[in-house]
């Protein structure tokens, strides 16, 4: 086919082709410049769908009960998230009122197109998977979940089987499993190998890199999306760096545009080729803005990533 097209090419077309080639040569610079103010996106789960590389978590931070003052404050945080191009929001029935608070915020703000709603089911399963998902949908006030994960592998066989059925029926879009703190990696590995899952959520940050050994390469090989939880190690990582007023190395700005510790820590995570997105949690609009800016280009090269880990190790 290509051969025949080649033969049909006219003079006008060949001029066009030269133009296109010139454009392609200059494109990387142009697209990088254009990219500067925009959130990076990554394809996930072997599809051509894309997710912004910075999502958000809700553990502790969004569990505010029915306090009107705090409900409005968290709505502002969600607004900042979407204003900066946010997509994936992760919650769980284990996070107290966080799903209700998300429902409140979405009702105030409207549900943006970019929302990628990620929930979880947890123990005890006992035939309750569908019920749990239905209840959470009501609490979020959404029509569907883009992703439902089995929280910390609780009753995972039963939950996963039910979630797969729900996915096949079109009730939910993707299924996944979660762990954190480096727990149960060998079981996670087995599930990633033997089950047909779209996402795995695990702890990956600059000081907790166990997942690099087996799970991240396996995710790439199997086309499984990876959500990095505890990107700030629960907050201690960034809060300690800020409190100590630790100097941000100049080369980090030159090599990958890091101007804040949020840039440094999050860019490290999302520049790993296997990571789809990181999900920092925050109660503060200013922190949300800082976190979202970390999803902008440029990203660190493999060499720069090595320098980043060495630098943190040396502090």
């Amino acid at each position: 086919m290509n051969y025949r097209i080649k033969h049909r090419i006219t003079r006008r077309q060949s001029l066009k082709l030269i133009g296109a080639t010139l454009a392609a040569v200059t494109l990387p610079t142009a697209s990088l410049l254009a990219d500067k103010g925009e959130m990076r996106q990554k394809a996930f789960a072997g599809t051509d769908k894309k997710l912004p590389v910075i999502g958000m978590g809700t553990w502790r931070t969004f569990n505010v009960g029915n306090d009107p003052q705090l409900l409005d404050a968290r709505t502002e945080v969600v607004k900042a998230f979407f204003d900066h191009g946010g997509g994936l929001i992760d919650s769980s029935p284990m996070y107290g009122s966080a799903p209700d608070v998300m429902g409140y915020a979405l009702q105030q703000l409207g549900t943006p197109e970019s929302l990628f709603a990620a929930e979880k089911v947890w123990s005890p399963a006992g035939g309750s998977t569908r019920e749990q998902v239905a209840e959470l949908k009501e609490r979020w006030k959404v029509e569907h979940f883009d992703l439902v994960q089995v929280h910390n592998l609780a009753d995972w066989r039963e939950h996963l089987a039910a979630l797969q059925e729900m996915k096949a029926e079109g009730n939910i879009r993707h299924v996944g499993i979660t762990t954190s703190h480096g727990r149960r990696h060998s079981e996670i590995e087995q599930i990633m190998t033997s089950e047909d899952i779209d996402f795995v959520q695990l702890t990956y940050n600059i000081t907790h890199r166990e997942a690099e050994n087996r799970l991240l390469p396996l995710a790439e090989e199997r086309g499984i999306g990876v959500i990095a939880n505890r990107p700030y190690d629960g907050g201690s990582l960034i809060k300690n760096l800020k409190r100590r007023d630790a100097p941000l190395p100049e080369w980090a700005n030159e090599e990958c545009g890091c101007t804040t510790w949020a840039d440094f820590l999050l860019k490290f995570i999302v520049s790993h080729p296997a990571i789809t997105c990181a999900i920092p949690a925050t109660t503060q609009v200013e922190h949300m803005r800082e976190n979202m800016r970390a999803g902008h280009s440029p990203m660190p090269s493999p060499d720069a990533r090595q320098r980043m880990t060495d630098y943190i190790g040396s502090l």
Binding site: W59, R60, N63, V64, G65, M94, G96, S97, H185, G234
Partner: protein, 223 residues
């Protein structure tokens, strides 16, 4: 990685300090001036206990335990922590236990001596729960609404009840009546510790003194 060693206290506390202290403050905002009534009931209970009107002294705090169970745990705290409903149930169980003790007279120390060390400890703990605990928030720069009060908030209710139990009860009944308040103080102390609040030290100190009082009263032969 050993799964259990990877857990920290923070992993079990699903809210931030801001949210927890706002919850305590909202209890104050919502129920003021009920505080005056609950404090008066507390003071009356202490007076009755010291005057050996033990049955009535056991009965009076029971509705307050039920109130904290419903208004604090079931209606509010449970929205933040799935375990809150169970905490509410145990507070209701304590209310029932106090009623049962009041009705049956089980384990009552009918003539507590005001000079016996465990009773002195009990009086001190009860006064601390009734008077000093409410003053802690305003004295440390907080608003009056952050004041934690016996019969409205869980901590002073548990502390004061432990003090009262040391005065009024003895033997097995004393230990049984102390279990739920003491367990709550452990949970609350650990919560405050995870939230980096110095309040935890106060609760653990009360617990330690109570334990000494319980053991003392149990081994000391009654005169």
């Amino acid at each position: 990685m050993n799964e259990w060693t990877s857990y920290q206290l923070q992993d079990f506390i699903p809210f931030t300090a801001e949210v927890y202290f706002r919850l305590l403050e909202r209890m104050g905002e919502t129920f003021w001036p009920l505080h005056l009534l609950t404090l008066a009931l507390g003071a009356a209970t202490l007076a009755l206990a010291l005057k050996h009107r033990t049955r009535l002294a056991c009965l009076l705090p029971a509705p307050l335990w039920a109130f904290v169970a419903v208004a604090f745990f079931i209606q509010r705290y449970a929205a933040l922590n799935w375990a809150g409903g169970y905490a509410g149930d145990t507070f209701i169980a304590q209310a029932v236990l106090l009623v049962v003790i009041a009705l049956t007279g089980w384990g009552m120390d009918k003539t507590p001596s005001r000079t016996s060390p465990p009773v002195v400890m009990g009086i001190a703990i009860a006064l601390f729960g009734l008077i000093l605990m409410p003053l802690m928030a305003p004295l440390s720069g907080g608003s009056w609404y952050q004041t934690e009060v016996f019969g409205i908030h869980a901590d002073p209710t548990a502390v004061t009840t432990l003090g009262l139990a040391l005065i009024m009860l003895r033997g097995f009944a004393l230990w049984i009546a102390a279990i739920i308040p003491a367990l709550w103080l452990v949970v609350s102390g650990l919560t405050l510790q995870a939230l980096d609040s110095t309040g935890s030290v106060v609760l653990f100190a009360v617990l330690a003194i109570t334990l000494v009082g319980l053991v003392w009263k149990s081994i000391k032969p009654k005169r």
